[in-house]
């Protein structure tokens, strides 16, 4: 008999195919109606406090009300018996992510159940955490792997991790693009595509790039592109016709051209941000050059101390004798005063 009942139940469940959480009409009939009213505006919220999905509510022995609610983040709020806001509990708590329930035990400890962090958290009546059950999974696992294969062809008006921007005297816009595409795009001052040099594929020939990483335009409209992965600066005229290649200053991470009657080109052979072995011996310095590529001098080297450079990524050269230099790996900005030099070495 017992088997039969069980079989029927299973069959019924299968036949009806009711989803597990579907609501069913109550079987009770002719049940008396109980009169009731709802107290209007029972909880009185300060102007900057809002309820979201109110997942749990509970009172303690003094009639205080606790609401565990999902707003932009999940919060636990306390109100007095009159519904006046008292305070927030567990502000910024590691275990609060996605509210599910709040309960108060006989000793007025408050227990919050969070289904986002998989935790049950016990607060004492003073609002301090005294016990936690379960453990929040860690948020991230590690660095993203490098995707394989060629990227799709570059589009005129879309970039793929662009790296810099510069303008000529007419307001035309030049964008090196970038880590995934390997090109430089020229737009007019209204943002309309003019032409590009390079493509979505990297290359080592003239007119090709391997990570165009920085760009500068001189007063005549010539375009200087830091072709970082190819360890060279490619110089183009304003129509992106190649004029020169400077390949004697390492891997240019950042270029900058100073204003004024005698402009200089600065180029940083930054040490790689992972500080691979021996990289400090071979990179880290910044070059000061004439626009034609002749080297005036160099300064700095890789290192973590003040006056050394940890992966220079930005140079401001509005004043060529007083540069502002920003670094990736040391998390800082240095002001570098250069003693002016008059001699220019040959290439």
């Amino acid at each position: 008999m017992k088997y039969l009942v069980g079989g029927c139940l299973v069959l019924a469940a299968l036949c009806l195919a009711v989803p597990a959480d579907a609501q069913t009409r109550a079987k009770a009939e002719n049940v008396a109606e109980i009169p009731f009213e709802s107290v209007p505006n029972f909880l009185k919220m300060p102007p900057d406090v809002y309820l979201g999905e109110s997942m749990g509510v509970a009172t303690n022995s003094k009639g205080h009300i606790f609401v565990y609610t999902r707003r932009d983040d999940t919060r636990l709020l306390e109100f007095d018996p009159g519904g006046n806001f008292v305070k927030e509990w567990g502000e910024g708590l590691y275990g609060f992510e996605f509210a599910h329930k709040v309960r108060v035990d006989k000793d007025d400890n408050v227990w919050a159940v969070d289904e986002g962090t998989n935790m049950v958290i016990k607060f004492n009546p003073a609002g301090r955490v005294v016990m936690v059950l379960g453990r929040r999974p860690e948020a991230v696992e590690g660095a993203v792997e490098t995707p394989q294969g060629d990227p799709p062809p570059a589009e005129r008006y879309l970039f793929a991790r662009p790296t810099d921007v510069a303008w000529d005297a007419q307001g035309n816009i030049f964008v090196p693009d970038g880590y995934i595409n390997h090109r430089v795009v020229k737009y007019d001052k209204n943002g309309r595509f003019v032409r590009q040099v390079g493509s979505h594929l990297r290359g080592t020939e003239p007119y090709q790039f391997n990570t165009p990483h920085s760009i500068a335009v001189d007063a005549q409209g010539n375009v200087y592109v830091a072709d970082r992965g190819n360890a060279r600066i490619q110089v183009f005229d304003n129509n992106l016709v190649l004029r020169a290649i400077y390949d004697n200053v390492g891997n240019p991470w950042e270029v900058c051209i100073s204003p004024g009657p005698h402009p200089y080109l600065f180029s940083s052979n930054s040490n790689p941000d992972a500080n691979p072995a021996a990289s400090w011996e071979t990179s880290g310095e910044i070059y000061k050059m004439e626009l034609d590529g002749r080297i005036v001098g160099k300064f700095g080297r890789a290192g973590k101390a003040v006056g050394q450079f940890q992966t220079v990524h930005g140079i401001d050269c509005r004043n060529p004798d007083e540069l502002v230099v920003s670094e990736i790996s040391a998390w800082r900005v240095q002001k570098i005063r250069l003693r002016p030099t008059n001699t220019t070495s040959s290439r």
């Binding site: 929040r136 991230v140 696992e141």
Partner: protein, 385 residues
């Protein structure tokens, strides 16, 4: 017969070696515990991954608290938040927070204070070691935070505790000879790791701890992802690595801690090989201690007669075994032990940090119980050995 049985039992216990076989006869060290730290009403401790004191007795706690945030930056996920560094005075009163919103605060792993009272933070998932001066300003950075982070694709029914803590380890790159790395060739590529990422460079893979020798050289335990000790000079210039993944001497499975004694011997907590390996300052293997369980946290006391504390912490998903802290001499002899896994005062929930500036007054940071306990040991003269 009875003798036979007991021999069989001991043999079985040794064979299983699931729990500490060495637990048998060690003296229990009597101790008391308090929760010494008080926080402002709107600040809460999360997982107390690191705790350390400075020469004035100030207490620093690097804790996983607040909510780690993953934002979609269009091309990539960017992660931040989720850990904070707090300073307390010697009475446990909250002094201040250090490094609010710092780029490398992602998942707290450890904090240590050097002889000059600089505060060094190790963050497991930003992969960084960050040196703060005694005023709380950043002085030096090691490694670089990955620009984009993988977010776990959580299966619904996974026991999240175990999964989260141990996690799948990324595949190990083939060990490259350290000095042979190409110098300065920042490849373009599609935004992958910079050249030099991996064993030969500076970038860590889930590092766990930092220590210094008597000349100020820096030793980083690296970690969950790599299996090496990375050594730098006092200016942060890389000197050498040692270690690889495996079970031989000089190999590691989860390097979870590093400490250095007055003679510049380097003690490495080789957690998943359940041992401590001792090297000289150049990385030459000297000896190993196999009687410590799984060393999650280690600390060597200062002073003329040094001791080594080792926590055989319970894993975060189980309170039913392990959890004790061992006191050892530097030759690996166990002096005594105290504590066990649990949630009450005097019990331990996955100890991840020990501060032992004072031999008999320890600060202990727990992942499982979101707290720091101050432990006062009351060793009796007969209790030692």
């Amino acid at each position: 017969m009875r003798r036979l049985l007991s021999i069989a039992l001991v043999t079985a216990a040794l064979a299983l070696s699931g729990t500490l076989s060495a637990q048998l006869n060690f003296a229990e060290i009597p101790y008391d515990a308090v929760e010494p730290l008080t926080l402002p009403a709107n600040i809460h401790m999360g997982e107390a991954a690191g705790v350390a004191t400075n020469s004035k007795g100030d207490v620093f706690v690097y804790t996983r608290t607040g909510t780690p945030v993953i934002t979609t930056a269009g091309s990539r996920n960017v992660s931040h938040g989720g850990s904070r560094l707090f300073q307390f005075d010697r009475t446990g009163k909250f002094v201040r927070e250090i490094g609010q919103g710092v780029y490398g605060f992602l998942q707290a792993q450890q904090v240590r204070v050097d002889r000059q009272d600089n505060v060094w933070v190790v963050d497991q998932l930003s992969t960084q070691v960050i040196k703060f001066d005694p005023n709380g300003r950043i002085q030096m950075i090691f490694s670089r935070k990955p620009e984009a982070m993988r977010v776990p694709n959580l299966p619904l029914a996974v026991p999240a505790d175990t999964y989260a803590l141990v996690g799948p380890r990324p595949p190990q790159p083939p060990a490259a000879p350290p000095a042979a790395a190409p110098a300065a060739a920042p490849a373009g590529g599609r935004g992958g790791p910079p050249p030099g990422a991996g064993a030969a460079g500076e970038n860590f893979n889930r590092p766990t701890d930092v220590a210094w020798d008597s000349t100020g050289n820096v030793y980083v335990a690296d970690g969950y992802g790599n299996s090496r000790i990375a050594k730098y000079d006092p200016n942060g210039k890389w000197i050498k690595n040692w270690g690889s993944t495996g079970t031989d001497t000089g190999q590691f499975r989860v390097v979870h801690g590093v400490q250095i004694d007055a003679a510049n011997n380097v003690y490495v907590a080789d957690r998943d090989n359940r041992r401590i390996q001792v090297f000289d300052a150049e990385g030459t293997f000297k000896t190993q201690f196999r009687n410590v369980g799984a060393p999650w946290a280690i600390c060597i006391t200062p002073g003329p007669r040094q001791f080594l504390y080792v926590s055989n912490s319970n894993p975060p998903n189980n309170l039913d075994y392990d959890g004790e802290i061992l006191k050892m001499t530097l030759d690996g002899t166990i002096v005594g032990k105290f504590g066990r896994a649990g949630k009450q005062l005097k019990e331990f929930g996955t100890v991840n940090a020990i501060d032992c500036r004072s031999e008999n007054e320890l600060y202990v940071g727990e992942l499982g119980n979101w707290r720091v306990q101050k432990i006062t040991l009351r060793p009796t003269t007969t209790a030692t050995r």
